[in-house]
């Protein structure tokens, strides 16, 4: 995670921060309150990307697998939430927890059924495996919840809040608060708890895994469960805003990849930075260039970072390309 950066990192971070500041100042000065509003919006969606990217990074760091189904898991979370609330009229909070639990267990199930048995097989196998899982989930979601985008009630009703000339929906307050809590929790888990530290050690040096008492198998299972849970949480929190639709998973996943790579694949806290950055970037593009180019920019970022700095903005310099 963070802590003692080498020189190379500091430079990158500095440059990066500089650019960020310039952009923000620009945005704020040119578009005033509108600019501020847009940036808030960027951060809002950034939270979604962050949560997805965190999941991806957790899985990657402990199993060296990229989960191409992360986006679908997220949609699945929203879908279950919708069902619990609207069909079974379960109270919101309970429905939230239930949805997350269900999806988490699905993630765990998949890990045991498909990832664990092939843990030391080639990367291609793993990629195809998770791609298969994503296709499968997409189909199931369409099958069960139908092809139309389904609306979901926001957590709390009421008029939006205004401050500094920006309009903020109540839902986004929930999202910001919740994401913050999750990030803190995850950080705490990986830095304070024995298990989390063990998983990190195991991730950094697989041979040492058994020394720190966390078997790769166990940490892989935990990682997948956590990732699925994070995805689901994101899905639930954004369902009222984005509606629930079977075909959202692909782009969610892609944005997640961009965010995760931006923050350095496997760097969980980096994923948060990456996600927020990507969110803001997208909306700055929308404001200054053209809305259609949002996605293109997000993707270009992915490619550029992959080629120039595969270890991410704050990642340590290590050749991943050999």
């Amino acid at each position: 995670m963070f802590r003692k950066f080498d020189r190379d990192q500091r430079i990158t971070i500095a440059i990066f921060a500089a650019i960020a500041v310039v952009v923000l100042v620009l945005a704020l000065s040119i578009k005033k309150s509108a600019g501020f509003n847009t940036i808030l919006l960027g951060l809002f969606y950034g939270c979604q990307y962050s949560l997805i990217a965190m999941g991806l990074s957790i899985i990657y760091s402990s199993t060296r697998v990229i989960n191409f189904a992360q986006g679908e898991l997220s949609v699945l979370g929203g879908a279950f939430f919708l069902t619990f609330v609207q069909r079974a009229s379960v109270p919101m909070l309970l429905a939230f927890i239930l949805a997350v639990l269900v999806v988490a267990s699905i993630g765990a199930l998949f890990e045991r059924a498909a990832i664990h048995p092939l843990k030391d097989s080639s990367i291609i196998t793993m990629i195809i495996m998770t791609i298969g899982f994503s296709i499968f989930l997409r189909g199931i979601i369409k099958w069960v919840w139908g092809a139309n985008a389904l609306p979901v009630e926001p957590f709390t009703h009421g008029p939006p809040l205004h401050f500094l000339g920006a309009t903020v929906e109540r839902q986004s307050i929930w999202v910001f608060g919740f994401t913050f809590l999750v990030v803190i929790a995850v950080y705490f888990f990986f830095n304070r708890t024995l298990l989390g530290k063990g998983m990190r050690a195991a991730a950094e040096n697989p041979d040492a895994a058994n020394l720190v008492g966390v078997s790769p198998s166990r940490s892989s299972l935990i990682a997948w469960t956590m990732a699925a849970a994070l995805g689901a949480a994101a899905g639930v929190m954004f369902a009222p805003k984005t509606l629930v639709s079977w075909d959202q998973g692909v782009w969610l996943g892609v944005k997640g990849f961009s965010a995760a790579v931006l923050g350095g694949l496997g760097n969980v806290m980096g994923a948060v930075v990456g996600g927020l950055t990507l969110g803001v970037l997208e909306f700055v593009v929308l404001m200054f260039i053209k809305p259609e180019y949002q996605n293109i920019i997000a993707l270009s970022v992915l490619i550029v970072v992959l080629l120039l700095r595969p270890q991410g903005i704050i990642g340590k310099t290590e050749s991943l390309t050999v």
Partner: protein, 378 residues
Amino acid sequence: MTTSGSGNPPATANRSEKEKSLKHLARDNSDYVILLVVSLFLLTVPIWADYVSTFIMDAMIEAGIFAIVVIGLNLLFGYAGQISLGHAAFVGIGAYTTALLCTRITGFPTWFALILGGLLAGLIGLVIGIPVLRLKGHYLALATLAFGLIFTELLKTQNSVSNQSNGGIGGIPNFSIFGLTLKSKIMSSTGYYLLIWIIALLVVLFTINLIRSRVGRGLRALHSSEIAADTMGVNTRNYKVKVFVISAVLAGLCGGLWALSSGRIEASMFDLRYSILFVTMVVIGGMGNIWGGMMGAIALTFITKILELQIPQWIPNRPSWLADPGNIAVVLYGLLLILFMLFLPKGITFGLSRLGTFSKQGGSRVKDRLRAIRYRGG
């Protein structure tokens, strides 16, 4: 690998038999024999297909088009061990090049446009491949994925080129060469069927030659251990890029044929779904198996077509769970990908081709699976 490495003669056999087995090993022509038989068989299809169902020919045309790109991808995945999740983009590049040339320039020779499409795709493949193939595994997958997505996004935004707002580029002329013009698919499928499958079979021939040659061994070596291959004198970087370019050229070719045969192209024909479909075809057909690409393309095209077009006609009023049979194909493919990776990583072609031998070599199924899994450790 079907080329050789198949027959393992018992260690006890005497010298002369060895020599024979070696001759067989060096010049195992079974692939050519199959190619011949398969070609002959495919040539007969137009004669009887329509008596069974007119949908066969159209399905086979599509299968043939996909076979061309999938065979290329199989070289990339199965032999060179590199993955690409963006090949639909190369198909698109080929398709748009061909379409634009033929529609914007009146009387532009279609066959030439087809070739140019393939070449341009290859060129872009080179430009993309050189930097991107420095990446490994997941990073490569992500980069190619992003590339593919960017392509479709660009098509959607660049209306002046893609004419998306009016349903894509239409009125693409039919393929014509030496003054003879093919009938459009809707009038008679035979013309395009022959054109496409002849090209597809030539591509298969090319791959067989390649795989059996020095180059093929180099690729398989690089797949197995890059360092070892390199120290044995295989220029791995160079090989990866070349295979990538070849697969791109084939994709471009496939795109051109798709554009000409369907008469109209638009962005959604080249989006992520197809890149993934191609991957699925490679995997289910059999990675690293010369016939895998073809088998995968045919099998999946037929499954899809039957579910999307035939089921609704057989069962007009369906129960709600069967309301959208096309979606069942999606679920099925997802499941198949997972199951194949778990139990039949070498694909149906390998699996079926072994069925016969299971009885003879008891329990070899298990052994194969274990070995296969061990192999994929590389």
